[in-house]
Amino acid sequence: MEAFISLFSQYNVPAAFLVNIELTLWSALFSTILGVILVMMRISPVSSLRAVAGAYVELFKNLPLTIIMVFMVLGAYAQLKLSFSDTFATNFFWLAVTGLSLYTAAFVCESLRSGINTVPLGQAEASRALGLSFMQSATQIILPQAFRGSVAPLGNTLIALLKNSTVAAAASVATETSSLMSEMIEYRSDVIVPIFLIFAFGYVILIIPIGMLTTYLSNKLAVRR
């Protein structure tokens, strides 16, 4: 017990978790936007859009996140000069957000696609019969129902995103949890197990409510048919 208290007074653990939560929230926002665009491209009548979206999803689904994060720093920043800020810490934070968003968008797209699978054919047929165009029927009829049908996979994607935010260490974000844990183990190797338990339970505490909320929402929002 003393070990826990001394660790908490020595290191600012909540601040590290806050960095991960910030990473997660921003990436969730951007990956949702990108994921919706991708899924609309994938169901559109235009074949080149379908091909590009399909290739994007295949590519990012089959690449390790670590390599994407390394590419964000060494490729996007160092070579393509994609820069968000002159301050390194801020810049790497946003590069990590970009990497996480690009990666997660592929999974958001797949989740939404599984949600579209739950929308009955009749809905699309009816909207066509009413004379709605593709954009109208997609944005007003299909996607709203698809969102409600894909709450559960989206929730899982969010959980995976929160866990994946630790990989931001590979993009030089030095203030997040996995970096802090390495640092703490480096200097306090006598209490290595308590250090791990602090971080592990931090994630358990964060993730269990998300899981419960997901289950609740997916039951509440499911379209009754």
Binding site: V70, V73, L74, Y77, A78, Q79, T87, F88, F92, A170, S172, A174, S179, S182, E186
Partner: protein, 270 residues
């Protein structure tokens, strides 16, 4: 059917578990820990290993009575060096291993065989950086978990921006592309990088700390320490020490800090 599958899986697991341990305790071999990932010090090339540390290790092994094909090279990453010595995974370690009091609590050292100093690596055309004091407002790269960047920030330039990368190659790539202005670590490592850069990077050449590189051995083995120290003294005397440095920093104008080099190997003999 299931039982057969389970048996096959177990057999497979055994194969992988054993191959991972790689127990090669064959007699008459010497196991030496080096770095595998530092050009100029210890690096894999054409299936063998090259670098200053490797040359020193080969020389010591020769003096201890082992031929080159009796050497088993083992990778000794920075964080695992003490554990490898304590477990007896290796006989000794030559891997940019600084002699510190902290480390001497768990392992012993022979040597030192080289005195390195923390220095800066910059682009060839960079003129504004002449020492660590000039780094205010500049961008500095170092590897994750090393204290060298913090030293610069605390002692010399408070307004320097730090970037951490997992390896020196990433730092050097960042230096090439202009997103950082300098890389910091021990000068001999930087010289190795500069040598591999085909003349596009240079070492500033004003080391501002001293790191005594020793040969890590099992704690309390004074006999081995004496033998290794004699070998190092011989190496310095017969000129192969100087040759090894020159060979491995080819293409740069690097010279080791003459005030401390070549060092007197007296460590670990008691």
């Amino acid at each position: 059917m299931l039982r057969r599958a389970a048996a096959a899986i177990c057999a497979l697991a055994c194969v992988f578990a054993v191959s991972a341990c790689g127990a090669d305790d064959a007699d008459g071999k010497v196991r030496i820990g080096i770095k595998f990932d530092q050009p100029g010090l210890g690096f894999k090339k054409n299936g063998t290993y090259v670098g200053f540390d490797v040359d020193v290790a080969k020389y010591i092994a020769k003096k201890l009575g082992y031929s080159e094909d009796q050497i088993v090279w083992k990778e000794a990453p920075s964080k695992q060096r003490e554990a490898m010595l304590q477990n007896g995974d290796v006989d000794f370690i030559v891997a940019t291993y600084s002699i510190t009091d902290e480390r001497k609590k768990v392992v012993s050292f022979a040597g030192p065989y080289f005195v390195a100093g923390q220095d800066l690596l910059v682009r060839k055309d960079e003129t504004s950086i002449k020492g660590p004091e000039d780094l205010n407002g500049k961008r500095l790269c170092s590897v994750t978990g090393s204290t060298s960047a913090v030293t610069v920030k605390e002692k010399f330039a408070n307004e320097v921006q730090l970037m951490e990368q997992p390896g020196y190659a990433e730092c050097a790539t960042a230096l090439f592309s202009g997103i950082v202005d300098a890389v910091t670590t021990d000068d001999i490592i930087l010289a190795g990088l500069a040598s591999a850069s085909r003349g596009r990077l240079r070492v500033v050449g004003k080391p501002f700390t001293q790191e005594y590189y020793g040969v890590g051995i099992k704690k309390g083995d004074t006999q081995l320490a004496t033998k290794i120290n004699n070998a190092i003294a011989d190496m310095i005397q017969d000129g192969s020490w100087k040759r090894a440095i020159a060979d491995n920093t080819k293409g740069t104008s690097y010279t080791p800090n003459a005030k401390y080099n070549p060092p007197e190997p007296t460590e670990g003999e008691k």
